[in-house]
C-alpha cells in the first residue's frame, strides 16, 4: 500500500516563504537548554521534567521514548507553548516558543475532533486560525481550501467521509483525520503525542506507513512521543531515550536504516537488535 506513488500529493509549496525564511529552517528547529518543568510549589511541588537539553535539526524525525511519566509529553507541551518552562529556555525556530516562529501542527493521543463539525470542517480548522491561511479563509473555504482538505483526506483513505461527523467514524479513521488536521496547514514542525497508541496492531501499522509517506512527501520536522519501540524504529531518523521520573535524556542515537522503510523491516535482525537495545535501556531506566 504505497499511497504516494499512485495518488499525486496536493501540489502546494512546502513552506510559505514569507512566514518561514530559509535561514530559520536551516537553524535547529527545536532547542531545549536545561529546560525544566515543576508544577506547584513547596511541599506539593511535582517535577514533571528535570533540566533537559535537547537539540533537533530541521527535517529530522525524532522519536522520544521512555517509561510513562518521564516527561515526554511535557516536552511536547513546552515546544507547542501549552506550558512554559519553570527554568531554562525552549527555542523553536531560534526564538522562544511563545514567539511562534515556526508553524506547528499537533496531534494528540485522543483524536479530539470537535463533535459539532464534520470531518471536513475539523480538518479545515487550522486554515481558519493559522496565518497566512486565515487571511484568505473567507474566500477560499468553499474553493481552494476545500479541495486541499479533500485531497489530503483522500491521501489517507478518507475521501468518502469528508461530510461525516466524528461520531460516525471508527477510532482508526478519527486518528487519520487527526493527522490530516495536524498537516493541512503545511507545518514546519509536527508534534505527535502517541497518536497511534490506542489503536489495534493492524490499523497502527497501516497508519505508520501513511505517516511515513506523508513525512517523506512533505519533509516537516517531526517530534514523536511514543512508548512503542517498533513505532519509533520504523518512523524515526533519530531516537532519544528518557529516564524514569523525573525524566532526562539518557541515550540519543540515529536510526541508520534507509527510508522509506517497509513494514517487513520490523522483523529484520538489525531492527530487532536495535529495539532490544532500546528495551534494555528503558528497563534499566525504570528500575534505577
Amino acid at each position: 500500500m504505497n499511497m504516494t506513488s499512485n495518488i499525486p500529493a496536493p501540489t502546494l509549496p512546502i513552506a510559505t516563504p514569507e512566514t518561514t525564511p530559509a535561514s530559520v529552517r536551516a537553524r535547529s528547529a527545536i532547542e531545549l537548554q536545561a529546560a525544566s518543568v515543576v508544577f506547584g510549589t513547596g511541599e506539593t511541588a511535582v517535577t514533571a521534567l528535570s533540566p533537559t537539553t535537547l537539540k533537533m535539526a530541521s527535517g529530522e524525525f525524532l522519536a522520544l521514548v521512555g517509561p510513562s511519566g518521564c516527561g515526554k509529553s511535557t516536552i511536547l507541551k513546552l515546544v507547542s507553548n501549552l506550558i512554559r518552562p519553570s527554568a531554562g529556555v525552549v527555542l523553536v525556530g531560534g526564538r522562544e516558543a511563545a514567539a511562534r516562529k515556526l508553524r506547528i501542527g499537533m496531534a494528540f493521543q485522543n483524536p479530539t475532533m470537535l463533535p459539532w463539525l464534520t470531518i471536513e470542517q475539523n480538518v479545515m480548522m487550522p486554515l481558519k486560525i493559522v496565518e497566512p491561511f486565515k487571511r484568505s479563509y473567507r474566500q477560499d473555504k468553499k474553493g481552494a481550501f476545500r479541495d486541499r482538505v479533500h485531497a489530503l483526506l483522500k491521501q489517507v483513505g478518507l475521501g468518502d467521509f469528508a461530510n461525516h461527523f466524528p461520531w460516525q467514524l471508527s477510532g482508526g479513521m478519527l486518528q487519520r483525520s487527526n493527522l490530516c488536521r495536524a498537516l493541512i496547514h503545511e507545518p514546519d514542525l509536527l508534534l505527535l503525542d502517541e497518536p497511534f497508541g490506542a489503536l489495534d496492531q493492524f490499523t497502527r501499522e497501516e497508519l505508520w506507513q501513511i505517516m511515513q509517506d506523508l513525512y517523506l512527501d512533505r519533509a516537516p520536522t517531526v517530534l514523536l512521543v511514543t512508548h512503542d519501540l517498533r513505532e519509533a524504529g520504523f518512523l524515526a531518523s533519530r531516537i532519544c531515550v528518557m529516564s524514569a521520573r523525573p525524566g532526562r535524556v539518557i541515550s540519543d542515537e540515529p536510526v541508520t536504516l534507509p527510508q522509506p522503510r517497509d513494514i517487513a523491516t520490523i522483523y529484520s535482525p538489525e531492527f530487532v537488535e536495535m529495539t532490544q537495545n532500546l528495551r534494555e535501556m528503558i528497563a534499566q531506566a525504570r528500575s534505577s
Binding site: F108, L114, P126, F165
Partner: protein, 257 residues
C-alpha cells in the same frame, strides 16, 4: 418510526381523554359552571369571544417575546463573562444564586412603582425571570469545556476570542438551548404574572377581570389559551434545539450517511 407514531398516538389520546373525563365528570357530578365549567362550554366561550381575546393574545405574546429577547441577550453576555473567567465564576456565582432565588413575584410591585402599570413592567418581569437559567447554563457550558479541545486550538496559536468562538460557544450550545426552553416558559409566566397584577391589556388582565365578574368559563378560556401558547413556544425552541445541536444527541435528523 412505528414506535414514534405509537408514542404520538398515545400522548394525543391522553390529552383527548383528559378533556373527555373532565366533561363527563362535570355532567355526572353535576358541577356548577361557576366552579368548574365543562370543556365544551370553555370552547364555545373561546370561539364567541375570540375577536375580543385576540388583541390580548398578541399583547401577551409580544411582551413575552420582547422580554425574552432582552433576557437572552443579557443572559448570554453575563454567561460568557462568568463562564470564561475563573475569577468571575468564583466571585459572581454566589450573587447570581442569590438573585435567582428571589421569588420573581416580589419584583413586580417594584417595577410597577418605577414604571407604572402596563407593558413595561410585564416586559421587565419576563426579562428578569429568564435571565438566570441562561446565565447559569452558558457559564456551565463554557466552564466545562474539555481542556483538550481548547488545547487543539491553542497549539495552532489561536487567540482567546478565537477559542471562544470556535470551541467554547459551540460547546455551550446544547446547554444554551436547554436553558432557552426553560427560559421561554418562564418569560411567559413572568409576563402573565405582571399583567395580572398591573395592566389593562393581556391574557392575565382578561382572566383577572373575568374572575371578578364571575365569567368563569372566560377565565378557563384564558387559561387554556395560555397553555396553548406555552406549548407552541416550547415546541418552537425544541425544534430549533434539535436542528442546531443535534450533534450532542447524535440525532438522526443530522446524520449524513
Amino acid at each position: 418510526m412505528s414506535d414514534n407514531l405509537r408514542t404520538r398516538f398515545l400522548s394525543t389520546s391522553l390529552i383527548v381523554g383528559f378533556f373527555l373525563l373532565w366533561e363527563v365528570l362535570c355532567i355526572i357530578l353535576n358541577v356548577s359552571d361557576l366552579v368548574l365549567p365543562r370543556p365544551s362550554e370553555i370552547l364555545v366561550t373561546m370561539y364567541n369571544r375570540f375577536p375580543v381575546l385576540w388583541p390580548h393574545i398578541l399583547q401577551t405574546l409580544s411582551t413575552t417575546l420582547i422580554g425574552f429577547a432582552f433576557g437572552v441577550t443579557i443572559g448570554v453576555a453575563l454567561g460568557v463573562i462568568v463562564g470564561t473567567s475563573k475569577v468571575a465564576y468564583a466571585v459572581a456565582y454566589p450573587l447570581l444564586v442569590g438573585f435567582s432565588s428571589i421569588p420573581k413575584v416580589a419584583v413586580v410591585p417594584i417595577f410597577v412603582l418605577w414604571f407604572g402599570s402596563g407593558t413595561t413592567p410585564a416586559i421587565l418581569t419576563a426579562m428578569v425571570i429568564c435571565v438566570f437559567p441562561i446565565v447559569v447554563n452558558i457559564a456551565t457550558g463554557l466552564a466545562t469545556t474539555e481542556p483538550e479541545l481548547e488545547d487543539v486550538l491553542k497549539t495552532m496559536g489561536a487567540s482567546r476570542s478565537e477559542i471562544l468562538w470556535n470551541v467554547g460557544l459551540p460547546r455551550a450550545m446544547p446547554y444554551f438551548f436547554a436553558s432557552l426552553k426553560v427560559a421561554i416558559t418562564l418569560s411567559f409566566v413572568g409576563a402573565v404574572l405582571s399583567e395580572t397584577v398591573a395592566s389593562n391589556m393581556g391574557i392575565g388582565f382578561v382572566m383577572m377581570t373575568a374572575s371578578s365578574n364571575f365569567q368563569v368559563s372566560l377565565v378557563f378560556a384564558g387559561l387554556i389559551l395560555l397553555a396553548l401558547m406555552g406549548v407552541i413556544l416550547y415546541a418552537i425552541f425544541s425544534l430549533l434545539e434539535r436542528r442546531i445541536t443535534g450533534w450532542a444527541t447524535r440525532g438522526n435528523d443530522i446524520a449524513i450517511t
